[in-house]
Amino acid sequence: MLDPTTTQLDRYLTLVSQRQKLVASNIANADTPGYQTQDFDFEAQLHAALQASGDSTPAPPLASAVPGLRVKNDGNNVDLDREARLLSENALRFNMATNFLRSELKDLHMAIQGGSS
């Protein structure tokens, strides 16, 4: 993208939306027998994504079953409270990053217009 900051914000947003997809999937499968909660290590993946060089988008992280959740009688271990927390957490993260990105773009716009905005 435009500069290192926007590139990093872009990767952050991509990662947050990928995680949101997993949360949506976990909620949809809250009553599916045998379904295991899927997630990835957000901090580790973010670190890896920010370290990656170049403009290319890193490959989507592989999701795996989350250990330590209470398994119900039907073998399903989706915890709706956990998913609700992640749902709002992701929305807030996304919000914050888009606000940053917007102010970056605004600065650029101002520069293009010679400060007259």
């Binding site: 909620i27 949809a28 499968n29 009553d31 027998p33 592989l62 709706l80 749902l87 919000n95 917007r102």
Partner: protein, 145 residues
């Protein structure tokens, strides 16, 4: 785009829960039905959920194979309760057998009501997920302004 895909995942959850609610309501409505097209009393039905990749187009199916995509949910089958019906002694009933017993469906309305509440809660959870994702998409759109 990744976010639009999560909308279809949540939508599949809503569809599945709605179909489950339909089956449960049918059970409650037919709690006293002694006559069916197939003969005998009504038999209680229940749904079985199954995780399933969402999005039919070839590219998304292909992509799902590539990167272990999150799954939506679908109803894999509707199971019919095969247990013995309840027998009540009602000699005047048109469906009574020669001993005067009528077979009634083995439907426990309390059980179906609890399942119905669970379906409704899960439906709400999916709706919340859709609203959250919708908000995120709107935020991205705002970047264009």
């Amino acid at each position: 785009m990744s976010l639009f895909n999560s909308l279809s995942v949540s939508a599949s959850g809503m569809t599945a829960q709605r179909q489950r609610a339909e089956v449960l309501v049918e059970n409650i409505a037919n709690a006293d039905t002694t006559r069916t097209a197939g003969g005998g009393p009504y038999r209680r039905q229940d749904v079985v959920f199954e995780a399933q990749a969402v999005g039919q187009p070839f590219s998304s199916v292909f992509q799902a194979q590539l990167d272990n995509q999150p799954k939506g949910v679908a109803i894999s089958q509707v199971v019919v309760d095969q247990s013995e019906p309840d027998r009540r002694y009602l000699p005047g009933h048109p469906d009574a057998d020669k001993d005067g017993y009528v077979s009634f469906p083995k439907v426990n309305p309390a059980e179906d009501m609890v399942d119905l509440m669970s379906a409704s809660r899960s439906y709400q959870a999916n709706v919340s997920a859709i609203s959250a994702v919708k908000e995120m998409i709107n935020r991205s759109m705002d970047l264009f302004r």
